[in-house]
Each structure stands twice: as structure tokens, then as C-alpha cells.
């Protein structure tokens, strides 16, 4: 008798434990709150040149022609959706006794200028290293314009000053990096 009752009871008990094991409340919809904020840094432009490199023919009125670089990173859909802020940091080290200016232009598909900035470096009268930093921040309208950019032009212009010849001392060194703040949401 006991045997007969016991068998089904035990089985039922085991089944019960398995079927109605308790759960505390979980909420899988929390996945919709997912938000990650990676910050990516990347090298961008650089160059390193001695004073003599700036002599073109007999002229020292050096200015690079604005050559275009077609770039499709900024208007790619992922960047458009998730980039919330960008910064470009330039660092120049000048030991030439001549000031110069860097200009970066941002053009869209229709060749419209969407954004531009310039920065300049003083002449190094003693040929010591003069270090300068320049930070361009893209937020708000500037960020919208950045996301429309498909072409970049980088122009280096020597500002008026002491003439440069083959014996002119010093170098110009430029480094730059971009910092891209992303906000990726589900």
C-alpha cells in the first residue's frame, strides 16, 4: 500500500519541483536600455619636413595647393547614427624662423564648404622647438557639417617673414589625432 502511494507521490514531487520551481522577477526588456559609449582615438595627419623642403623653385612663398582627399568615413551610416562629438587635436613643433598657417577645409558631395578652421605657428627666432597645440571641437552644427563631409583639403602656407634658403635651420613637425565619442543605443 505504502509502496503504491509512495511511487507516484515521489514522482509527482520531483515533477513539481521541476515544473514550478520558483523564479524571481526578471525583465528582459532591460536590453532596450543598452547604451555604450566607446571613445575611439586615431592618428590622422602628420608630416615632418626640414626648412629646405619648403623651397619650390626660387620661391619661398610656399603654399601647398589645396589637394582634395575623398573621405567617406564621416558620412557612413554608423557614424551618422552614433557619433555624438568629435575632436581634432593638432600639435606642431616648429624650429624654423618663419611662421606658417595650416588650413583644413571640409566639403560635402556638392563641393560646398561645410566647415573650415585655421591655426598658425609663430616663427622660431632662435631655432628652438616651439610647440603649439590646436583643438577643434565638433558639436552641434559643426558635427552635422562633419557628417556631411566627403572631401578634405589640407593647406599649409608660409606666412611672410625671413626668407628661406638651403642653409635655413630648423624643421616643422606636425602630428594630429581625432577623438570620436560614440553613443551606441539599442
Amino acid at each position: 500500500m505504502i509502496k503504491q502511494i509512495f511511487k507516484p507521490t515521489l514522482l509527482l514531487f520531483v515533477l513539481h519541483v521541476i515544473c514550478v520551481s520558483c523564479t524571481k522577477e526578471v525583465d528582459f526588456n532591460q536590453i532596450n536600455d543598452l547604451e555604450i559609449n566607446p571613445v575611439i582615438e586615431s592618428s590622422i595627419f602628420y608630416f615632418d619636413a626640414a626648412a629646405g623642403d619648403f623651397i619650390i623653385g626660387s620661391s619661398d612663398e610656399f603654399s601647398t595647393p589645396p589637394e582634395f582627399i575623398i573621405i567617406d568615413i564621416f558620412n557612413n551610416q554608423f557614424v551618422k547614427d552614433n557619433l555624438i562629438k568629435a575632436e581634432l587635436l593638432f600639435e606642431t613643433v616648429n624650429s624654423i624662423n618663419r611662421a606658417y598657417q595650416v588650413q583644413v577645409d571640409f566639403f560635402d558631395n556638392a563641393n560646398q564648404l561645410r566647415h573650415t578652421f585655421t591655426f598658425s605657428t609663430e616663427a622660431s627666432t632662435t631655432n628652438d622647438d616651439l610647440t603649439n597645440q590646436y583643438l577643434e571641437v565638433f558639436e552641434g552644427d559643426a558635427l552635422i557639417n562633419l557628417k556631411q563631409t566627403t572631401k578634405l583639403a589640407f593647406t599649409l602656407t608660409m606666412l611672410p617673414g625671413a626668407p628661406i634658403n638651403t642653409s635655413t635651420q630648423g624643421r616643422i613637425h606636425l602630428e594630429s589625432k581625432g577623438t570620436f565619442y560614440l553613443k551606441i543605443e539599442r
Binding site: V14, C22, L34, E35, I40, F45, F68, I69, S176
Partner: protein, 471 residues
């Protein structure tokens, strides 16, 4: 019905792990021969109830539970996610294993009076999946590289493998004498779908540069190998009926085939002490049909662009120069697909246990021990190991077995493994007439909140058994 659907969802959603510590050595259950082909056989013949003779699911996550991440506790989901990302290690894994026996049976034979040989056979479907936590990828995606200058991101952190297959097997078991039994089982595998990416190499690092702020160094050698997948994804006739037909064909030995074996033995050391061991799924599958592999390979360093003094000796414009760099990047991340055949090894499993049997039945009539009867209790220790892509996983189980009545026995286990240090399991096997039913599950301590369990395992089944020593 509700309970049934709950049970089904439990089976399908929460099945993890391959260790069948409760079933191992549980000789009343015919399927224990699948855990040790050299185990003791207690029946004369049996037939598994088709599709119901062995249903097994096991799922586990070694570092985190569902509850850790999704508890409705009002805490910010993103901070829980952040905790998880930093806490999990690259050796933590998520694993699922599921099996359904389609058919199985066995019968004793032999020339002597006591039939001492046993043949068992069957076919089952298995799904096996393991993914390690891709820690470095997660950190890179979560933080970006800004906070990780000079940190090497290891590309091998992606390690994932999954397979759906059918297994056709025949096993032979021989009781050589009262003290020694051995067995072997041959297996033919028919892989239905396989995908694996387990041999990735390389790294990504952002270092302080020579010419610019940073030097970004990519060194990638990544590969995903698949078989049986591309024809299902790419077929133009999207009629699922055709896919089902194709899957059936592959199940019936029309997939990518492989061979393997199980071996095992049981050795009685004394009347009460027994040692047994088995090695399972020593085998391979050769993937030659419907293979599609995807490979990303390349080394590239990027320090930035020189917009003025780029090497314009070939009359390059700045844009040509930039285009070259873009092409280099595209080349680096370009996915090459190949149809190279490949071989996978099945996850081999090792079981070994030492048993001590004690306590004979007391005859109420004479109030004395029935010397001729079998022992009613057993305790023992069992070691389990399984080969996995990164490193073997181990589990150690202590157990207590008790024969409650004729035809009803139970086993309780306490297991230490990658998931938990306190995994309590319970199993029962009941014979009612010729019908055998068994059910076993583990992680009972977590049943107050199943979502907090890092692993769940369940096996159940129905057999028709004809016992030789039926009272």
C-alpha cells in the same frame, strides 16, 4: 498544459552542459550504457519509447547568471552590464547541450546459461554549442581604444563552436566474470550543421607612434568555418519544406559523416568496492559537403596620412595616396571565402568513479540480513572531464545511491564544476510493470530562483524493460 509548456521551455531554453553525473553508473536505467559502454547491465532486453527514451538538456554559463543581468531590481542595466564585462574572464563560457534519443534498444545474448553479452543500439540527435566570452572585443567595443593605449587586444578571444548532428551507434558489452565487465560502442556521426571559429589569432594595439600620436597595428588571422549552413541560407527557393527535407536527409546519414567510439569497463575490486571508467565520443567529423569558410587575414600599421610630403614620385595626387591607404584597409578587413574541407573533433568525455556499496536488506521474518541480496546503498566519487576548445572542463561529484524498493531507486549528487561549487542533483528511476521511467535534474539549490542558476541540467525518459532478475 501550462506545466507541460513550462517543462518544454525549461528543456529548450535552459538546457546546459554535458555532464550526466546522475545518470552515470545508474545501472537500472538502460541509457546509463551511453555513459559507460562497459557498465553493468541489469536487464535482459529493453526498448526505448521512441522520441521519449532520453531527453537531455543542459545549459550553463560559467561566470554569470541570467539573474545577474536581467533581475528586475531597479538597478541600471548598463551598470550591471559593465560589471559583467569586467568580471567575466576570457575563459568564461556559455554552453548548451541537448540530446533526444529517437530510437534505442538492447538485448542480452550469449552461449552460456547466463547470457553475459549485451548488444545495444540506437540513434539520437544532439546539439552542442559553446562560446567563450570575447573579453577583449567586449572591452574594445565598450570603452574604445582611448583608455587602452598600449593595451594588446587579443583576437583569439573569439572562440565559438556549434553543431547539430545525428549519432547512430551500436554497442557491445561483455561481462567477462563476476568482477570484470567491459564494453565498446561504435558511432557514426552525421553532421547536419556545423559552425566553428576556434583557431583565431592576432591582435590589435594602439601604440604611441614614431611620426604621429599613435601607431595602430592590426595583425589579424580570423576564420569562421561552416558546413551545412550556406545552402540553407543562400538557397533561392525559400520554401521551408525543402529545407526540412534536406535536414531529414542529412539526419539519415546524408550529412557530413564522421566516426567515433566509446569504451569503458567496470572492475569489482572487492565485494563492496567497484571502480569504473569510460571514454566517450573519441571521434571526428570530416566536413566536405556544403562547406563555406570565411577568413580575414592581414597585417597593417597605420600612423596617419602625410598630406603634403607623401611620396609623389609617381605623380600621385593626395587623393590617390589616400585611396591607396583606404584600399589597404579594405584589403585588411576583406572577408575571403573558401570551400576548403575541414575536420572537427567531437568533444571527448572522460568519466571515472569509485563506488562503495553497503547495507543489505533486512528480512523482517527473521530480523536478519539477507546475505544473498544485493547491497541497497552506494556512495562514491566521480570525476568527469570534457575536451573543449580552450581547455578541458572538469567536474567532481560525490554521490549517494539508494535502492528504495524493488523497482524504485534514487541517486543524489553533489557536484563541483566550472559553474558552481554547490550543485545538488537528484534522480529517480521507477519501474512500474515493464515500464521504466527516470528523471534527473541538478542545481536544486538554485530552484528558488532558476534564473540565478548558472547551469541547469535535466534528463528524463521512458523505456520498456524486461529484467532478468525480476522478483
Amino acid at each position: 498544459m501550462k506545466k507541460f509548456s513550462y517543462l518544454l521551455s525549461l528543456i529548450t531554453c535552459l538546457a546546459f552542459g554535458q555532464n550526466k553525473q546522475i545518470l552515470y553508473g545508474f545501472s537500472e536505467i538502460p541509457q546509463s550504457l551511453m555513459q559507460n559502454p562497459g557498465g553493468e547491465v541489469t536487464n535482459d532486453w529493453y526498448l526505448g519509447i521512441p522520441l521519449l527514451s532520453h531527453i537531455h538538456t543542459n545549459a550553463g554559463s560559467s561566470g554569470i547568471s541570467v539573474y545577474d543581468l536581467f533581475a528586475a531590481d531597479g538597478l541600471d542595466f548598463n551598470s550591471k552590464l559593465e560589471n559583467a564585462i569586467y568580471r567575466l574572464k576570457d575563459n568564461d563560457f556559455f554552453a548548451v547541450n541537448q540530446q533526444i534519443e529517437i530510437l534505442s534498444g538492447g538485448f542480452a545474448f550469449g552461449s552460456g546459461f547466463e547470457k553475459n553479452e549485451y548488444l545495444s543500439f540506437g540513434v539520437y540527435q544532439e546539439f552542442d554549442f559553446i562560446s567563450y566570452f570575447p573579453k577583449d572585443y567586449a572591452i574594445l567595443a565598450y570603452e574604445g581604444n582611448q583608455n587602452n593605449i598600449n593595451r594588446l587586444f587579443d583576437a583569439s578571444d573569439v572562440n565559438i563552436s556549434g553543431e547539430l548532428l545525428s549519432v547512430w551507434h551500436v554497442g557491445y558489452n561483455k561481462k567477462v566474470n563476476d568482477n570484470f565487465t567491459f564494453g565498446i560502442r561504435g558511432k557514426v556521426y552525421s553532421s547536419i550543421i556545423n559552425a566553428n571559429s576556434t583557431k583565431n589569432e592576432g591582435s590589435f594595439i594602439t601604440r604611441t607612434g614614431q611620426n604621429n600620436f599613435y601607431n595602430h597595428i592590426f595583425n589579424l588571422d580570423l576564420e569562421l568555418r561552416t558546413s551545412g549552413l550556406s545552402s540553407l541560407i543562400e538557397d533561392e527557393n525559400s520554401d521551408p519544406k525543402n529545407d526540412v527535407k534536406e535536414l531529414k536527409k542529412r539526419f539519415l546519414l546524408g550529412g557530413n559523416l564522421g566516426l567515433g567510439f566509446d569504451i569503458g569497463f567496470t572492475k569489482k575490486i572487492t565485494d563492496q568496492w567497484t571502480f569504473d571508467a569510460s571514454l566517450l565520443d573519441v571521434g571526428f567529423i570530416r566536413h566536405s559537403k556544403d562547406v563555406e569558410n570565411y577568413k580575414v587575414e592581414g597585417v597593417y600599421e597605420f600612423e596617419g596620412v602625410d598630406p603634403i610630403f607623401y611620396e609623389s614620385d609617381q605623380g600621385q595626387t593626395a587623393d590617390d595616396y589616400w585611396s591607396d591607404i583606404e584600399e589597404d584597409f579594405e584589403e585588411l578587413f576583406k572577408v575571403d571565402s573558401t570551400q576548403s574541407k575541414y575536420t572537427t573533433w567531437r568533444p571527448a568525455k572522460l568519466n571515472a568513479s569509485l563506488n562503495y556499496a553497503f547495507g543489505k536488506k533486512i528480512d523482517k521474518a527473521c530480523n536478519c540480513i539477507q546475505e544473498e541480496s544485493d547491497y541497497l546503498n552506494a556512495v562514491g566519487m566521480q570525476l568527469y572531464a570534457i575536451s573543449r576548445p580552450k581547455q578541458p572542463q572538469l567536474a567532481l561529484t560525490a554521490y549517494y545511491y539508494r535502492r528504495l524498493f524493488n523497482g524504485l531507486s534514487a541517486k543524489a549528487t553533489y557536484t563541483i564544476d566550472s559553474y558552481s561549487f554547490k550543485n545538488v542533483g537528484l534522480g529517480v528511476s521507477a519501474n512500474i510493470g515493464g515500464m521504466n521511467f527516470y528523471i534527473m535534474a541538478d542545481n536544486f539549490l538554485e530552484y528558488q530562483n532558476i534564473y540565478n542558476a548558472q547551469s541547469v541540467s535535466l534528463q528524463l525518459g521512458f523505456n520498456y524493460i524486461f529484467n532478468k532478475n525480476e522478483d
